[in-house]
């Protein structure tokens, strides 16, 4: 048998039909086997790669590289500040807004002492009260809020357009930086967002839900609403806002999620 098979692979051998069938079947199935073995090997290789370190984490470095490449591709090809999320009449908004996370919403929070700390590029800090923000023009949006888990809800939010806020406080230099960083007062939840998305005309520093002040569990007194991102980026109870040219730390990116998470 072995002789018969090795005979088939002699280069100068003239094959009968039967021999040809056997030879071709062996080689073809060998290549198919090689292909599947290669797939298994590639899968195991990816799984065995070291996790990425630093701002992002929780996922193997080659995978993170592709996610970052995806960000570049879709920021270049599809993103535009003129692409607006679909809006709905306020009457379409749900009354019972889904509560889906209490990260950074500790019980020891004292609303009276809260202020928004804006760290400028030169290191100065602006401390703003809610009333300061309410003096700026109010922007309202009723849109389909999308959670990374897969659910969505039509919800109605109001506040200050982020780009209006930047202009009003003369943060022009900061607006040329690449990222904003946000964190809760207790710094237990934090996100980083690319500047184009932050300056998108539908991004708001939000203080009202359904026309009433934000409930505690929705991030009273101030939260981010950014329709071009999944809910994980809509940080509740903003304590600190800062600017950076490198990616600021991001709670979910450290746990293996895409840093960009753009819609």
């Amino acid at each position: 048998m072995a002789n018969f098979i090795s005979n088939l692979f002699r280069s100068n051998k003239k094959l009968t039909v039967d021999e040809f069938i056997v030879k071709k079947t062996i080689t073809s199935f060998f290549f198919l086997f090689l292909f599947f073995a290669g797939c298994v090997w590639a899968w195991k290789w990816i799984k065995a790669q070291p996790r990425d370190k630093g701002i992002t984490g929780g996922v193997q470095q080659p995978i993170r590289n592709v996610l970052n490449a995806n960000e570049k591709i879709f920021r270049t090809v599809t993103y535009s500040k003129n692409h607006l999320t679909k809006t709905y009449p306020f009457s379409a908004a749900v009354k019972n807004v889904r509560f889906n996370g209490n990260l950074g919403l500790g019980n020891d929070f004292d609303p009276a002492t809260w202020s928004l700390h804006v760290v400028k590029k030169n290191g100065d800090t602006l401390s703003l009260k809610l009333d300061d923000l309410k003096k700026l023009p109010k922007t309202e949006i009723c849109f389909n809020f999308k959670c990374i888990e897969g659910w969505n809800q039509i919800t109605w939010w109001s506040g200050v357009k982020f780009s209006d806020f930047m202009k009003a406080y003369g943060l022009n230099e900061e607006a040329t930086m690449k990222y904003i960083g946000l964190s809760t007062p207790d710094e237990k939840y934090y996100v980083g967002i690319d500047m184009p998305s932050a300056l998108h005309p539908q991004t708001i520093l939000c203080y009202e839900l359904n026309g009433k002040p934000l409930p505690m569990k929705e991030g009273y007194p101030l939260r981010l609403i950014i329709p071009v991102k999944y809910g994980i980026k809509h940080l509740k109870r903003i304590g600190i806002l800062y600017f950076d040219n490198n990616r600021p730390p991001d709670y979910w990116a450290e746990r293996g999620y895409d840093y960009y998470s753009g819609l």
Partner: protein, 304 residues
């Protein structure tokens, strides 16, 4: 080979190159053309020197075999990681009113396959393998267009009737076996449908992935929620396709399966002669002179 191809296309049917001289029929010339379906053309390199009772007939081009086998693990990963994502918001079910017939998916299913709490992982892999799925699919479609393979794959006028007969036959309701070309009517419909499904998966996938930037696409599919449902239903469709496909391949047998790996099917000369007789009643055999540069008998036997 090219000469034979051209003739095959010209006549819109069919010719067949004798792969070898059948044993015991020495009077037959080594190369003779009979009327047979066009896909049964044998390339000259496959013409063996010695006679045999078997003939090798090419069925699947190498490119199609690669597209097919690459798609298998890639689609597998897409379905698997899709499950990891779906787990995070597993709301779909089939039922009437309050009564649930099928829940996608029962807890036991998640436990059996360790699906729970792997959303981040699922999304990461999904958004890598989407490129492979997309590229392999687009190359396959382009290949079928430019190679002419689409002629065997697209359903034609008789496909629907033929598919019905195939179904009746497969369910053992009708005894007579429907005509089987390269693909029968049911196959043409299935293999075309699966491509349309693939396109649907890519587009609904984009509609879910970038519902703001590609909002128009999301709108075409009836909104974000509907895009997700279509994306999910298509995936269930792949699983059903896979099950039926594997069963049909098992029933069709080794020769058919091997063709998707080696590219050729093996035919018995005797069977083929019977078919030739039957078909030559309608169409006369044509004579083909080998094109310039084609391998001839003397090339195979340089000593003589």
């Amino acid at each position: 080979m090219r000469t034979y191809d051209r003739i095959a296309i010209k006549r819109l049917f069919i010719n067949f190159v004798c792969a070898g001289q059948p044993a015991g029929v020495p009077s037959l010339p080594t190369r003779q053309v009979f009327w047979m379906p066009a896909f049964l053309v044998v390339t000259s390199q496959h013409i063996p020197t010695y006679p045999s009772m078997k003939k090798i007939v090419n069925k699947h081009p190498l490119a199609i075999r690669w597209f097919h086998w690459i798609n298998f693990p890639v689609l597998g990963v897409m379905i698997w990681t899709g499950l990891l994502i779906y787990w995070a918001n597993d709301v779909y079910k089939i039922g009437f009113g309050d009564k649930t017939l099928i829940k996608f998916f029962p807890q036991s299913f998640y436990q059996a396959f360790h699906i729970s709490y792997r959303l981040a992982e699922g999304m990461a892999y999904h958004f890598i393998f989407m490129w492979l799925f997309f590229l392999n699919g687009i190359l396959y479609v382009l290949y079928t267009i430019f190679s002419g393979e689409w002629k065997y794959l697209l359903p034609n006028k008789s496909s629907w009737r033929e598919a019905w007969l195939v179904l009746l036959h497969d369910l053992h309701i009708r005894k007579a076996k429907p005509q089987q070309g390269k693909y029968n009517g049911a196959q043409r419909i299935a293999y075309t449908a699966i491509i349309i499904m693939g396109i649907g998966s890519v587009l609904t996938g984009l509609a879910i992935y970038k519902p703001v930037q590609l909002g128009w696409m999301t709108a075409i599919f009836g909104g974000y929620k509907m895009s997700r449902i279509i994306h999910f239903v298509l995936t269930i469709g792949y699983v059903l396709f896979f099950v039926i496909h594997v069963i049909q391949v098992i029933i069709a047998g080794w020769n058919n399966f091997r063709a998707m790996v080696t590219g050729f099917e093996v035919m018995r000369v005797k069977d083929e002669l019977v078919q030739v007789e039957a078909s030559s009643a309608i169409l006369p055999p044509v004579e083909v002179t080998p094109a310039e540069g084609m391998k001839t008998e003397s090339d195979d036997n340089p000593e003589t």
